[in-house]
């Protein structure tokens, strides 16, 4: 259990942009996860996605780490940005791109890769 927690924490702390979602970017299993992913893509964010569905323990540990009860959850440089509604709202007025630039530098869009990592 604590090994899982460590892996989740590690993703949050080391990935520039971490998206905990239902499904993967190639096969999204939930409308809210899809909205968060689209907003991040439109902002040109380098997304590292973690599917929470393979094991209910992933979501439990994640929520206990972040204090956020729902999925998706988006982190930038280790800091919780929020769920789909917040990311979408920040994206709509350019705030998301500003946040990414502040956290990752003005050339963050150059990385623009989508990666999937497993914590199980």
């Amino acid at each position: 259990m604590s090994e899982l927690r460590d892996k989740i924490q590690n993703v949050i702390e080391t990935e520039p942009v971490a998206l905990f979602m239902k499904g993967t970017p190639q096969f999204v299993m939930c409308g809210n996860s899809d909205r968060a992913l689209r907003a991040l893509r439109e902002a040109g964010a380098p997304v590292t996605a973690v599917d929470v569905l393979p094991d209910p323990a992933i979501r439990m540990e994640l929520t206990s780490l972040s204090g956020w009860p729902t999925i998706p959850q988006v982190f930038v440089k280790g800091e919780l940005v929020g769920g789909a509604d917040i990311v979408e709202e920040l994206a709509s007025d350019g705030e998301l791109e500003r946040k990414l630039t502040d956290a990752l530098g003005s050339d963050y869009q150059a990385e623009r890769a989508e990666t999937v990592v497993s914590v199980t």
Partner: protein
């Protein structure tokens, strides 16, 4: 059943945000588990979007935990 869940969320939010100038709970699908809540409150003034949503999540902690809410959309606004 569906209406019961919606009313329960409405009551929880009303007691958590008595000062709200707008408070709405929509059942998005009619199935009683996909909700969109909208709260406009002077209590949100000066809070980040993240903290505003945290206060909604806190108010709805029980129905989020027990599965009453399968999917939640949140819209919050201050009054300034």
């Amino acid at each position: 059943m569906a209406a019961v869940a919606r009313e329960k969320l409405q009551r929880l939010l009303e007691s958590a945000f008595p000062e709200a100038t707008e408070l709405k709970v929509e059942d998005r699908t009619g199935g009683g588990d996909h909700f969109h809540v909208t709260v406009r409150s002077p209590g949100f003034n000066g809070l980040s979007l993240l903290d505003q949503h945290r206060r909604i999540n806190d108010a709805l902690a029980d129905p989020l935990r027990d599965g009453t809410i399968h999917e939640l959309r949140i819209t919050t606004r201050g009054t300034e």
